[in-house]
């Protein structure tokens, strides 16, 4: 059980600040996800914790032990690599035993611990196999067994599922999460897949250009994005530029995209430029009585099974995305005029960046 503390850590590559003065505390036993687009610094931050990227400024603590000054092989972290990094010259059992041998564990104990670790990842009996005989998912499990067996202080995952196909990916992430919870290991998990992050994490940090944009539970981050970047990155909110109108004591009318959007509360002074964030699922096809509504012309309909996504053009031509249930019949062709109802309380505005 380890609490990880990042204390203003920084790292630059040439002129690029890959990790820029990041501070965070990861509570013991939590699965903490670093989420962000490629190049945001999430992998660099993970590698700084593992000891593969130098910490230029700042400190990293495991509980009250400072670890950023230790060499990588003395940090007792268990890292699962994107490409698994299974040693091709060693059998599965020898791969799993690798860290134990490096720690000079007695050979008699090694065999038992290796078997236990392999059983844990449902690979009992695979010890004598060679890596090239295993599938991608099995290699992934070997990689996990290999780090679990050393009983690391923390687990580090570097986009561990990105090489697997979609079905295996959802299956593996459930397994990873269950293992992590059962063992209660503090875990840092790097991904660029927002669905994966939301599904697996206790807490998520959204990174952008080396800085943490927002930290919170999946629900917090999804429902109350603090910045336009987070709102757009997570869930693909429609970002519409607008100009605030008058506040009628109840709602503010914002002129946007050739129409008017009503938002609860006094969100901005009249005349101020801003961005209106509307989640695709915050819009639905309106009944005759619904107020307020957005008028838009259907451009394209994507049927995705559970949901269907509508692409519609606002009066000035700006396209918005709308998610509705897949079971809802939309018997209209492209070009049809549609009205979308929304709840003014669910619309968030951000000041123009």
């Amino acid at each position: 059980m380890t609490t990880i503390r990042l204390d203003s850590v920084s790292r630059t590559f040439g002129a690029v600040r890959a990790v820029d003065n990041v501070s965070a505390t990861i509570e013991e036993g939590a699965l903490f996800t670093l989420l962000g687009p490629s190049g945001c610094g999430k992998t660099t931050l993970l590698r700084m914790i593992a000891g593969f990227a130098d910490v230029e400024a700042g400190r990293i603590w495991f509980d009250d032990k400072r670890i950023d000054t230790l060499p990588a092989h003395r940090r007792n972290t268990g890292m699962v690599f994107q490409n698994y990094a299974i040693f091709p010259n060693l059998s599965v059992a020898d791969n799993v035993a690798y860290g134990l041998r490096a720690r000079k564990i007695k050979p008699a104990d090694i065999a038992a611990r290796v078997d236990k670790a392999l059983a844990r990842v449902r690979l009992a009996g695979y010890g004598s196999r060679w890596p090239h005989q295993l599938s991608g998912g099995q290699l992934q499990r070997v990689a996990i067994a290999r780090v679990l067996v050393i009983e690391p202080a923390v687990l580090l995952f570097d986009e561990p599922l990105s090489n697997l196909d979609a079905q295996l990916r959802t299956q593996m992430r459930v397994e990873i999460r269950q293992l992590q919870q059962a063992l209660g290991l503090t875990t840092i998990y790097v991904t660029h897949d927002q669905e994966e992050a939301l599904a697996i994490s206790d807490r998520i940090a959204i990174l952008r250009s080396g800085k943490i944009e927002q930290v919170g539970s999946p629900e917090e981050i999804y429902q109350r994005p603090r910045t336009a970047f987070v709102a757009e990155f997570l869930g693909g909110a429609n970002m519409l530029p607008g100009i605030a109108g008058t506040f009628d004591g109840h709602r503010t009318e914002v002129a946007s995209c050739g129409t008017t959007i009503s938002i609860d509360g006094h969100v901005a002074k009249a005349g101020q430029k801003l961005f209106v964030s509307i989640r695709p699922e915050a819009l639905r096809l309106a009944n005759a009585s619904d107020r307020p509504v957005l008028q838009a012309k259907l451009v394209l309909r994507e049927f995705l099974g559970q949901i269907q996504r509508l692409h519609a053009a606002l009066p000035d031509g700006t396209q918005i995305r709308v998610s509705t249930l897949g079971s809802l019949p939309v018997a209209v062709a492209a070009g049809a005029e549609l009205a979308f109802a929304y709840d003014p309380a669910q619309i968030i505005v951000y000041p123009e960046a």
Partner: protein, 546 residues
């Protein structure tokens, strides 16, 4: 596409059948017959195994080859690691220079050793004046030293590629699991590079076993397999083609076995991880870095020293076999006053061989890479077979096969070109197959899909895309053909003598040290210059060329 494939496959097979397998089968046949009468016999083999001299020759050859293999591995592997993973200053230059010993004529290096440390060598006489003597460089010692100093790149190049091909995450995983850098090297990095190292080491063994030029310069009267074969076949004193045939069969059998083992071994163990992130240089302390730098530069300079010495000595004057310290071009004028003919011959034959070998080898490399199947596998195997055949033996086979009858080819330039094309074909197949690996098959499929016939697609799309790789292979053929001695010495005729043959005769006569050094210098120039010009491309293809 099928017709195209079969044309290539059967064309190549026919060519190798006629100019490789047929001559070799005649050598085998000769070894099984009584000289003169033609009756079948095993007597030639009995004679060899009863003769202490020939047994000694076999033993010496095997010993020198083993020593060369061990030496080349012991210096090639650490050097490879330094060049792959340590920030050695001038690394790229070093990598280029390190390929030179492989293509420079090895008998020139042997000759340099004689010039420096021989009976009348510069260093020997200098030390003698100071009252010191050095051990003999003739015989096994000198031959083994020259072998591993000229052949270690066979280990170095694939090992560098092997160390570089490991994704950094492999090493990081080892460290993350608690292994120190040394531990990670011992348990993961070295074992993963080992197949590449051993594959290269076996090539060293083959090359050393069949090499003719180095023992011919340094063996003096000691028996060596490759030299004895030549003497038995072409010597005036103890001419015995049947015994030469028997020795040849033994030589080919041993190299073929080693080549088979090498391919088996290599095919079974492919540890290459696709290095998505190349490993970064090791953070070494200044002291260790200085040691690595000194070691790397030391080895490479040491291996080039013989060639540099020859270049230098060629500009000094000789009085008989004795070197004087007078600068001048007398060696060159002496060499060339006879005639420019051997130089022209060398350039002409090497150029022709390079073109033909490329034209033949490129489609073979293409088919072998693109179309997996038993036919391609067989072709791949046979295409690499010339590696196992010593030049002397191939020359002897070609003489037996084409000296008379329907197809008489001996006595002109054509037989030299044929011998070179067959011997150097593996270079072309390798470099062509390496470049084809890098061309997306979908490009050709798109072309065919758009209505261009497979044959035209190959000619107008694939070949231009392959061009860069083919030129590398072509120049390699050119270089090695220009410096080829072993098959040339059997096949040349007086009008079609080459620079290497001239040099051999100067050395054999014992009086032509000056002219020999000039000939050697010219050979070095014509082999090193093109290699340095295309060094970048060769380096990129690295291991595939070997």
């Amino acid at each position: 596409m099928k017709a195209f494939r079969y044309t290539i496959v059967f064309g190549a097979l026919a060519l190798l059948l006629l100019f490789l397998l047929y001559p070799l089968s005649l050598v085998l046949d000769a070894s099984l017959r009584v000289n003169g009468t033609g009756a079948l016999t095993l007597g030639n083999y009995v004679q060899i195994f009863a003769s202490k001299y020939y047994l000694n020759g076999i033993f010496n050859s095997l010993l020198a080859a083993t020593g060369a293999t061990v030496g080349a591995t012991l210096i090639g592997t650490p050097l490879a690691f330094c060049l792959a993973r340590v920030d050695v200053p001038g690394k790229t230059v070093l990598l280029t220079l390190a390929t030179l010993p492989l293509v420079l004529p090895s008998f020139v290096a042997a000759y340099a050793l004689v010039l420096l440390f021989g009976h009348a060598g510069v260093v020997t006489t200098g030390l003698r004046a100071l009252g010191m003597t050095i051990g003999p460089i003739y015989g096994l010692t000198g031959i083994t030293i020259v072998f591993f100093l000229t052949l270690y790149p066979y280990v170095l190049m694939p090992a560098v590629a092997g160390f570089r091909a490991m994704d950094i995450s492999i090493e990081e995983a080892a460290r993350n699991l608690g292994g120190s850098r040394l531990h990670a090297f011992r348990t993961v990095l070295l074992p993963m590079a080992m197949p590449a190292v051993l594959a290269g080491a076996l090539l060293v063994f083959i090359e050393a076993l069949e090499n003719f030029g180095v023992p011919v310069v340094l063996a003096e009267d000691r028996p060596f397999l490759a030299v004895d074969i030549f003497k038995l076949f072409a010597g005036e004193a103890d001419n015995n083609p049947a015994a030469a045939g028997a020795l040849s069969v033994l030589l080919i059998a041993s190299t073929a076995i080693v080549l088979l083992v090498q391919r088996r071994y290599l095919n079974k163990r492919r540890f290459a991880t696709d290095a998505r992130t190349a490993p970064s240089p090791l953070p070494l302390s200044p002291g260790w870095r200085a040691i690595a730098t000194g070691f790397s530069w030391g080895i490479v300079i040491l291996s080039l020293l013989p060639f540099i010495a020859v270049l230098f000595i060629s500009f000094l004057s000789f009085r008989g076999p004795v070197l004087t310290w007078q600068l001048g071009l007398s060696n060159y004028s002496m060499l060339l006053e006879g005639s420019f003919r051997p130089l022209y011959n060398t350039l002409f034959v090497a150029t022709l061989a390079a073109i033909v070998a490329t034209v033949v080898g490129a489609p073979i490399g293409y088919v072998v890479t693109r179309h997996r199947g038993p036919l391609s596998a067989g072709l791949d195997m046979i295409g690499m077979a010339p590696f196992a055949v010593s030049g002397t033996v191939l020359g002897i086979g070609l003489i037996i096969a084409f000296n008379s009858g329907l197809l008489t080819l001996t006595g002109g330039w054509l037989i030299l070109v044929i011998a070179y094309v067959v011997r150097k074909l593996p270079f072309c197949i390798r470099s062509s197959s390496a470049i084809v690996h890098q061309i997306e098959p979908s490009l050709e499929e798109a072309s065919i899909n758009l209505g261009v016939s497979p044959l035209r697609t190959f000619a107008t799309l694939t070949v231009p895309l392959m061009a860069s790789g083919l030129i590398g292979g072509m120049i390699l053929v050119w270089i090695t053909a220009a410096s080829e001695l072993s098959s040339t010495i059997v096949l040349y005729s007086s009008r079609w003598s080459t620079m290497t043959v001239r040099m051999y005769h100067f050395l054999e006569g014992g009086e032509g040290a000056g002219s020999a050094s000039a000939a050697a210098a010219i050979l070095i120039f014509f082999t090193a210059a093109p290699l340095l010009v295309i060094q970048r491309r060769l380096r990129r293809e690295g291991a595939t060329i070997l």
